[in-house]
């Protein structure tokens, strides 16, 4: 989706504001929400791509105005309701619906250290042949899907060089919509900054973008 989340190359967003000695969480609710989001993902009713996509669906004027964890709140709420884990009525009342069964949490405290230590790899150990090889010239496809994609707008139609094949990974465009993992190779593709931005860029500067097979065509 060509949404405001796809920010690469915009120029009117103001100065970068670095905060000295920044805390991990600025308010305790941010930490609680971070942990709730991690815990709810353990129900496996959605995946990370779906979670990212849900946040991208926040209307643009709100997306730009919300703080980071406000977007997390909105995305989590929408996904929980969609997945049927909570209802809108429960969100509004703050109380479980009458007669709803009490479940056992998917993520208990004893499971936190292994979850943190092992993570949730997006690589897949299945044989899929690569469509491109290191050193090959490629063009990022000019696609404009209305769903989720990790092909940024600023790279579409641009020519680069495959630098390295990182192996086989879940494809976010299909995974975010629960249409299957469609595993395929991911490459680091090197783009000259001038290819992306024209003569205002320095001739030697580059941008490396991770690209799935489905984002590329031979050039």
């Amino acid at each position: 989706m060509n949404g405001v989340h796809d920010m690469g190359g915009m120029q009117d967003m103001g100065p970068i504001q670095e905060e000295k000695n920044e805390p991990v969480f600025h308010h305790s609710w941010e930490g609680r929400l971070f942990a709730i989001t991690r815990s709810m993902s353990a129900w496996r009713k959605w995946n990370l791509d779906a979670l990212r996509y849900q946040r991208e669906l926040i209307p643009p004027e709100q997306y730009l105005r919300m703080s980071y964890y406000e977007k997390w709140y909105q995305g989590l709420q929408d996904l929980m309701v969609k997945a049927g884990l909570v209802s809108r009525e429960e969100m509004e009342s703050g109380k479980p619906a009458a007669g709803s069964p009490k479940q056992t949490p998917a993520l208990t405290a004893d499971k936190v250290p292994p979850l943190v230590a092992q993570g949730t790899p997006a690589s897949r150990d299945i044989p899929v042949p690569p469509r491109f090889r290191a050193g090959q010239r490629v063009r990022a496809r000019n696609i404009n899907p209305v769903g989720h994609t990790r092909l940024p707008r600023y790279a579409r139609g641009k020519i680069g060089t495959v630098e390295r094949d990182h192996g086989i990974f879940v494809f976010p465009d299909s995974n975010a919509l629960f249409l299957g993992e469609k595993p395929q190779h991911v490459y680091s593709v090197r783009f000259l900054a001038r290819e992306l931005w024209g003569d205002q860029a320095k001739p030697q500067d580059t941008v490396y973008i991770a690209m799935w097979d489905d984002y590329l065509e031979p050039a």
Binding site: A35, I36, R38, K202, D205, A210
Partner: protein
């Protein structure tokens, strides 16, 4: 600021549909805090909404409070940029380790006991006198948690996400880093599940330092690639 906050509250309240919390007034204290943190436009009712959400989910048996506490403790106290600093310092003193780090970052980082969530697929990129690497996620906030912890607000903000790819040298100047004209700036956009750690240059004049002494010099910003490592530690912990 005043009208922005009011507009925001109105929009957020209707969007979230949290009728119970939406009408709460902004306290004077919260208002003042808003002025102290202009980039953190936090409505006063978020604390109440999240509290309400947590108690709902606990009552339904969907989350475990002890698990929430453990997750928060992990990222507030156990996992942060000191992990990455140890990786960098080891690479500076041990050429064989550095080679492993650049060819198979996951394995090399795991040797020091780090890895896992949001660092499942690591790539380490080396700064040299000719090449300066910096990392961004233009699409959201991807960041190597096991070695750097959770990202700072500026990394997740629109100004950094938007401008890093089109004007990296301007962004670096905002961080106080003015690179020579002939250096190649490489920007890594974290569009996939690969997570990047910049291996900064070891500063001159640090030959006598121990590995721990070196690690103490390595800043988070240097490992994102928006700063260099200085031979002496500056005052702040950034």
């Amino acid at each position: 600021m005043r009208s922005t906050r009011r507009d925001f509250l109105a929009t957020a309240a209707s969007a979230a549909g949290a009728a119970a919390a939406g009408d709460l007034p902004v306290s004077a204290k919260e208002h003042e805090r808003g002025h102290d943190h202009p980039h953190q436009a936090v409505p006063s009712d978020m604390a109440l909404r999240v509290k309400s959400l947590e108690s709902l989910l606990v009552e339904k048996g969907l989350v475990d409070r002890a698990a929430l506490d453990a997750l928060i403790d992990t990222y507030e106290h156990k996992i942060g940029p000191r992990n990455g600093a140890h990786v960098v310092a080891r690479a500076w003193v041990d050429p064989a380790y550095k080679q492993r780090l650049l060819t198979d970052a996951n394995e090399a980082i795991a040797e020091l006991g780090f890895g896992g969530q949001q660092g499942e697929h690591m790539l380490v990129v080396e700064n040299t006198p000719q090449v300066h690497n910096m990392v961004v996620c233009t699409l959201c906030s991807c960041y190597p948690w096991p070695v750097l912890g959770l990202p700072p607000v500026w990394y997740k903000s629109a100004p950094y996400r938007s401008r890093s790819v089109i004007d990296p040298r301007g962004v670096l100047r905002e961080f106080g880093l003015d690179l020579p004209e002939d250096v190649e700036v490489r920007v890594w956009d974290s569009t996939a599940e690969l997570r990047y750690l910049v291996l900064p240059e070891r500063p001159a004049g640090t030959e006598g330092l121990t590995e721990d002494g070196l690690a103490a010099l390595v800043t988070r910003d240097a490992m994102i690639g928006v700063a260099k490592v200085l031979p002496r530690r500056r005052g702040d912990g950034a």
